[in-house]
């Protein structure tokens, strides 16, 4: 009786039972990739530059306000580049006071001083810039996750990828266009005052009054479907944003049948600011702007105290519902662009899985029959080992939460090939030893120990390649690398423990062995 037969049997048993445990229940155990079950794969690039620029803009505005509070008149406070702003004082006399104010802005460094001209530059510290960029991506992930959760997708994946990318995978989504619109919308809601004195015609031609900007409202004619763009001149200053929002609900627009509107409610702070704005500007028009597009500009008739407002536009019920979702979930800190998109319809996914499975089952059966035919009882042992190999492979994938993709299935097919090669190597070696005239037991011993050295070398090199693939590949290639790597590890395990164990049980018992069925 060979040594530690029981111990080895125990190892195999533990691995086998552990694998079964991970694989139960089979439907839930293995995640299918988007190519197999249908869905959307999106890679978004976050324009972190814009976040840095807008934060610098905000700081410049705050700086100007801080100067004014001290009675310092600034000729100009304007952003320069991404993360710096220039301040130019009206008179050099206030230089020292201005420097005191500048000292309060601790995340900025003062430079380029020109006291005679009363000018200096404030540059955001690089670690602050880095933090802002990081925040933009992190908040982006959070916001998108919120939106997707409210949209209702089962088991979405929303993760950060690299420095400024967000990977989104939504399995089984039926309406990809809508989902994409929902995810990609910046959803920056702003309230600004319409400049009543300005001439819209002149502004469109480029004569925009100081401190104003031109925004457009889109109106689609119900009959002709022609889109019109109506220009509005509004104050650049943002009075209130969607950040101060607590609720957003959809209801029917009472004034325009067939259209829907979104009713919003502000936080306590938002409500106070909103009350002040409406009180101070009765009779003027308040522009409601979403992502730079003016939605509506209702006239303020009186002070609105409760912090409630309504966004009207030509919304369908789905559009209004999605708008409410994005408003509730909050704005993305920076705009995003689609870098990569893969959408697979559910019917195509089912087709691929069926064809892939048929091919794999067919090749597996062919291999199993061949081994049985060529190696007899030993072939049967190899086949049992092959099944165990597959069980371990699938269980590992379930345990790691790896996703099974189409190339992943191909990787499994390849693993079958390698696993069979392992057995062929061992068996051919045993045959060779028998030809030299060794006894059955000695042949098995020598065959295994010699073949195993080769097997370890071949497996390790291919595993090295698979690991490199995993590190340099994306999506499809990664899935392939995972199943190949895990499969080879399993193959190494079954060759070393399981096949040998079966041989020992069959041939190394107490009775005398005359011949090996190989």
């Amino acid at each position: 009786m060979p040594r530690n037969l029981r111990a080895r049997a125990l190892v195999v048993l533990v691995v086998f039972l552990g694998s079964l445990w991970y694989l139960y229940p089979p439907k839930k155990a293995i995640n299918l990739g988007l190519d197999l079950q249908g869905g959307i794969h999106l890679v978004l690039g976050v324009e972190t530059d814009k976040h840095v620029a807008s934060q610098t803009d905000r700081a410049a505005e705050d700086f100007k306000a801080a100067l004014e509070r001290r009675g310092i008149v600034a000729k100009r406070v304007a952003r320069e580049g991404l993360a710096a702003f220039v301040a130019e004082l009206a008179s050099p006399q206030s230089w020292n006071d201005a420097l005191t104010v500048a000292g309060e802005f601790q995340t900025f460094d003062r430079g380029n001083e020109d006291q005679a001209a009363g000018r200096f530059t404030m540059t955001m510290q690089s670690r602050v810039v880095a933090r802002l960029r990081d925040d933009a991506v992190r908040q982006g992930v959070e916001t998108i996750r919120n939106r997707v959760d409210q949209f209702g997708v089962a088991e979405p994946t929303i993760t950060r990828q690299g420095d400024d990318r967000i990977l989104i995978q939504l399995p089984g989504v039926q309406d990809p266009e809508r989902a994409k619109a929902l995810i990609g919308k910046t959803a920056l809601l702003e309230f600004k005052l319409v400049d009543e004195k300005a001439d819209a015609e002149a502004a469109v031609q480029g004569r925009v009054p100081e401190g104003d900007e031109v925004l457009y409202q889109r109106r689609v004619d119900k009959q002709t479907k022609v889109e019109r763009k109506i220009p509005y001149v509004v104050n650049k200053r943002t009075l209130l944003t969607g950040a101060e929002l607590t609720r957003a609900e959809v209801n029917a627009d009472p004034n325009s049948p067939g259209n829907w509107q979104v009713a919003i409610e502000f936080t306590a702070t938002g409500a106070r600011i909103f009350g002040d704005i409406t009180e101070q500007n009765v009779g003027r028009h308040l522009a409601i702007i979403l992502d730079g597009v003016l939605q509506s500009a209702p006239r303020i008739n009186e002070r609105i105290p409760g912090g409630r407002a309504v966004i009207t536009g030509q919304f369908s019920v789905d559009e209004a519902r999605d708008l409410a979702i994005v408003l509730r979930a909050g704005a993305l800190p920076a705009p995003v662009t689609v870098l990569e998109e893969r959408t697979v319809g559910p019917s195509l996914g089912a087709d691929s899985i069926r064809k892939g499975m048929i091919a794999i089952i067919a090749s597996a059966i062919a291999v199993v029959l061949f081994m049985l035919f060529y190696y007899r009882l030993s072939g049967l042992i190899a086949d049992v080992a092959l099944v165990l190999n597959l069980i371990i492979l699938l269980a590992c994938m379930a345990a790691f939460g790896a996703t099974l993709t189409l190339p992943g299935i191909a990787g499994i097919a390849l693993t079958i090939g390698m696993a069979v090669d392992t057995n062929i190597l061992i068996f051919e070696r045993i045959r060779e030893e028998m030809r030299v005239g060794k006894t059955a037991r000695a042949s098995i011993d020598a065959g295994f120990s010699r073949a195993l050295r080769t097997i370890i070398d071949t497996h390790l090199t291919v595993m090295v390649t698979a690991a490199i693939l995993y590190n340099f590949g994306t999506g499809a290639v990664k899935g392939f690398a995972v199943s190949l790597f895990v499969g080879l590890a399993a193959s190494l395990f079954t060759a070393y423990f399981f096949t040998r164990l079966l041989f020992d049980v069959v041939y190394m018992g107490r009775r005398k062995v005359e011949a090996i069925s190989i």
Binding site: D35, V43, G45, E177, K180, A181, V338, L339, E340, E341, R342, V344, G345, S347, L348, D351, S352, K355, G356, A359, I360, A362, S363, A366, V367, F370, Y374, L406, A410, A413, L414, I416, G417, M418, V420, D421, I424, L425, E428, R431, R450, R453, T454, D457, T458, L460, T461, V462, V464, T465, I468, L469, F472, G473, T474, G475, A476, V477, F480, L484
Partner: protein
């Protein structure tokens, strides 16, 4: 016991000069095809948009083209995919954003009178930035894969073996790429995965032969036997395993190629070609090169010994 070979003793290594010629020729054809026709890259690498559509009844390419021309996409590549009622439409980059494009395509196809109902089954959009990155990733993956193999073999065996194995693998990669180019197949991410698998397979095969050579060299019977003969022995001794494994893998990939569906076809094609060239290159590129390299080094060493000996004799005479 069924056996294909019983103690085979073919003269593989002796015929290596012919094999060099054959390898050179095939590689040359591959390189010429790559240079003249180039590789057709999938949008994974070029960037662009791909839309896969299934029609209820079999459409004509002309009708599809007509529909696409109306939305300014007359230049799009239209390709049958797997069956006669399924098509892939490809538009180069910057045509529009992917969502607009999909909508436009859907509308144009539904409005074209010659075409029946259609269903959009897949949309892929790869931005220019990502495409370029994937290109680099592909190059890095192959490069680092080769370096990893070189290091592993150089450590486990010797440098000669490592270099020869990498040359053999490189040969396989060129042959596979050449075959892709000749057959007008596409180079996509899954094809890259297949290529890397072939690298793995080819090395696996090579290592089996090296391992055997190393083992034999430790035996007394190997002493005094010429190196070329030792290598030939190793190849012969592993021959039945090589053929059996090559055949099983070959049939597995053949099944994948013919029944695996259109999405796996290019992938399976590379594996199919790769198994053949990978098996061949083990003997006729890797093993043959190690033999010639070793003979060259031995030749120089004995030549040096002779000159040293001659110089010694000459001194004695004078």
């Amino acid at each position: 016991m069924i056996e294909i070979f019983r103690s085979p003793n073919y003269n593989f290594i002796g015929n290596r000069r012919w094999a060099y010629l054959l390898s050179g020729l095939i590689t040359l054809i591959g390189v010429i095809s790559l240079a003249t026709q180039g590789l057709r890259y999938d949008i994974d690498f070029t960037g662009g948009t791909l839309v896969q559509v299934r029609f209820e009844k079999i459409p004509t390419v002309a009708d599809i083209r007509k529909a696409l021309t109306r939305i300014g996409m007359g230049e799009a590549i239209i390709q049958e995919f797997g069956s006669t009622n399924e098509f892939i439409l490809r538009a180069p980059l910057a045509a529009a954003s992917s969502e607009e494009l999909t909508k436009k395509v859907e509308k144009a196809l539904s409005e074209e009178p010659g075409l029946g109902k259609s269903e959009i089954r897949r949309v892929e959009f790869v931005g220019p930035q990502v495409g370029k990155e994937l290109q680099w990733q592909a190059i890095y993956a192959v490069l680092f894969g080769l370096i990893g193999i070189l290091l592993y073999i150089a450590l486990r065996f010797d440098l000669k073996g490592g270099v020869a194995a990498v040359v053999a693998v490189f040969h396989d990669v060129i042959v596979c790429l050449g075959a892709l180019s000749l057959m007008h197949r596409e180079f996509s991410l899954p094809v890259l995965a297949a290529l890397l698998t072939i690298i793995g397979y080819s090395v696996n095969d090579t290592i089996v032969a090296y391992d055997r050579l190393r083992e034999n060299r430790g035996k007394t019977s190997a002493r005094g036997r010429p190196f070329a003969a030792q290598m030939n022995d190793a190849v012969n001794q592993t021959l039945s395993r090589t053929v059996l494994t090559a055949l099983t893998v070959f049939f597995s990939t053949a099944i994948l190629l013919f029944f695996g569906g259109k999405t796996l076809e290019d992938f399976a094609f590379v594996l199919f070609v790769g198994v053949i060239t990978g098996t061949y290159s083990t003997t006729y590129v890797a093993a043959a090169l190690v033999v010639d390299w070793t003979l060259y080094v031995e030749g120089r060493m004995s030549a040096r010994k002779k000159t040293v000996a001659k110089a010694g004799e000459a001194r004695k005479i004078t």
